[in-house]
Symmetry: C2
Subunit: 336 residues, 2 copies
């Protein structure tokens, strides 16, 4: 056994050449400590403050191929997005993110600076999206397939978690954040950022990104509206989820969990966003104001419909049954 940099198979400066301990020594100083960390990276486990007496936890993975292409996503983008998608799930419970742990599996030939940039992306996403949150631990291993599995933890600050199952007929349906931008960004990359053989191409991706910064940024380096999650909870949201798999699919999940129908207004939700995933907008329901008037909504949310008796999702009262949303097994065929 033994891998060294001299045989030409494992490049100098790569994970395989440096070894786990040396790579960790380069990554760990780049991570900012989490405000909640009582014990940070370096021991068998981290210890976090959980003053609420409860902890919120979620995990989401980015795999090279189905979830990202190294020709399009820089290592920094990848770290940012791996943090952001997990932070969004914490916010969708009405909680504030407190910490991340990161399980990273990378090919032995990966240059160490790529992992440093990935760590920078993780750190900067926490700083920008959820100040005080940071990476408190992780695992670094070798794999033929670049994989970033992040687990995020969060704190409810004394509030009840906002589940998918709490919507009641009469509630308003509201949305916070963009829908459709990330999918548009992906479509632009697929159409314009590939070489003649159809493979992702970094130079073309940079050009597409310069021409369409909002769309490509939404896809590669998303900025979900995290503060709106605890804000919605404090405002009395009855149900909420991270609408990251397409509005129609996620609205259907909320309707099913709550045993209600969601009737969306067609003028508020154009059909082209029904199946558009990866935006990490927050879909939430709020009690209608007294006297049956228009429901007051917290900052950042716009009304898109109403909760009514029944099941499923309708648009202006008409069934919206076409399949929508992203299923990694049904929608991606590169893993065979």
């Amino acid at each position: 056994m033994g891998v060294d940099g001299a045989d030409g198979r494992v490049p100098l400066g790569s994970l395989g050449a440096l070894g786990e301990a040396a790579v960790l020594a380069r990554i760990l100083p780049r991570l900012a400590p989490a405000a909640s960390a009582l014990v940070g990276p370096g021991d068998d486990a981290a210890v976090l403050d959980a003053p609420d007496g409860r902890v919120v936890v979620t995990t989401d993975t980015l795999v090279e191929g189905p979830d990202f292409r190294t020709g399009w996503s820089s290592p920094y983008d990848l770290g940012w997005k791996a943090a952001a998608v997990n932070l969004a799930d914490i916010a969708a419970m009405g909680a504030a993110p407190t910490a991340l742990v990161v399980a990273l599996a990378a090919p032995a030939a990966t240059p160490a600076p790529h992992l440093e940039a990935l760590a920078d992306g993780l750190r900067d996403a926490c700083d920008a999206l959820a100040p005080g949150c940071g990476v408190v631990g992780g695992d670094l291993t070798v794999s033929p397939t670049f994989t970033v599995a992040v687990t995020a933890l969060g704190d409810l600050g004394g509030r009840a978690p906002v589940l998918r199952s709490g919507a009641r007929a009469g509630d308003a349906v509201a949305l916070c954040g963009d829908l459709g931008l990330a999918a548009l960004g992906l479509r632009l990359l697929v159409a314009e950022a590939v070489d003649p053989a159809g493979n992702p191409d970094a130079a073309r991706a940079a050009a597409v990104r310069a021409r369409h910064p909002r769309e490509v940024e939404a896809q590669l380096r998303p900025h979900p509206p995290l503060a709106a999650g605890p804000g919605a909870a404090a405002f009395g949201a009855t149900a909420m989820l991270d609408a990251s798999d397409g509005l129609l699919l996620d609205a259907r999940r909320l309707a099913a969990a709550s045993g209600v129908r969601l009737d969306l207004r067609g003028s508020a939700v154009p059909p082209e966003i029904f199946g558009a995933g990866e935006d990490h907008a927050l879909l939430a329901c709020f009690p209608r104001g007294t006297g049956g008037g228009i429901a007051p909504l917290p900052d950042g949310f716009r009304p898109i419909g109403a909760v009514v008796p029944g099941k499923g999702v309708t648009v202006d009262g008409v069934a919206a049954d076409e399949r929508g949303g992203w299923d990694p097994y049904a929608d991606w065929d590169g893993a065979r």
Copy 2:
């Protein structure tokens, strides 16, 4: 796009043919709820009880190739081991495991029953090793490389966490659990459970396992002594870690973190176990009894040496500087 079972490339009954939702519907009922779960799987995130006001968190990944071979590990073994190695890190902080989240990335052609068996292994490992602990959430995605990233959470029950850095000169060094068995199991599999081309072979592995059940079980389905972790903490352990990377490497880590030397007794630690990893024994230090006598040790721990001033690790006073332990980048060359 679109993957179906009719084109012969994605087998009927596989993840690719069934899709994510159908596979989750088969897995989730097999998982026992965690006693601490206030909100279990199915929402954006889980919510756990954390009555201590702190939470312990760790993550560890098993990747096909460097960490397991499907010719040797059954899916049930894999689920068991993925749980056990993470539970051991929680115990090594002196905490009791409360919950797991599991990020699973599997090839589209993986038969759904394999994932059901993996879920059974996760559940049974929790039930056997840390009753009350269970899977509270996860993520299922497609990947060319079978990868199981588990994050474990734990509760300190009001005790201080036991770090690597607390050992003081005069402490006793003690060990709980087997050392060397898992490495012996791996050596037996490498030597005897391969086909003529050198590839892992399930039938030969079964025969090796029948002949050497303790060794192969220690490698494929480990039973780390989890209750000894909180036990050691309650007994006043000054430092502790999960000695899963080989005794010498892990003893060196504890010595470096604590700023002391660990002098091991040669009669208690034969050299052949110095570099033997994956046993998940607990290495701990305990204050010597009053009057300088033999330190009392909690149940399950045996004395293997003493903490003395200095640095590094010695055996009967002689420097033990040879490299020991497992580094996934330096020790595995299959990822290129």
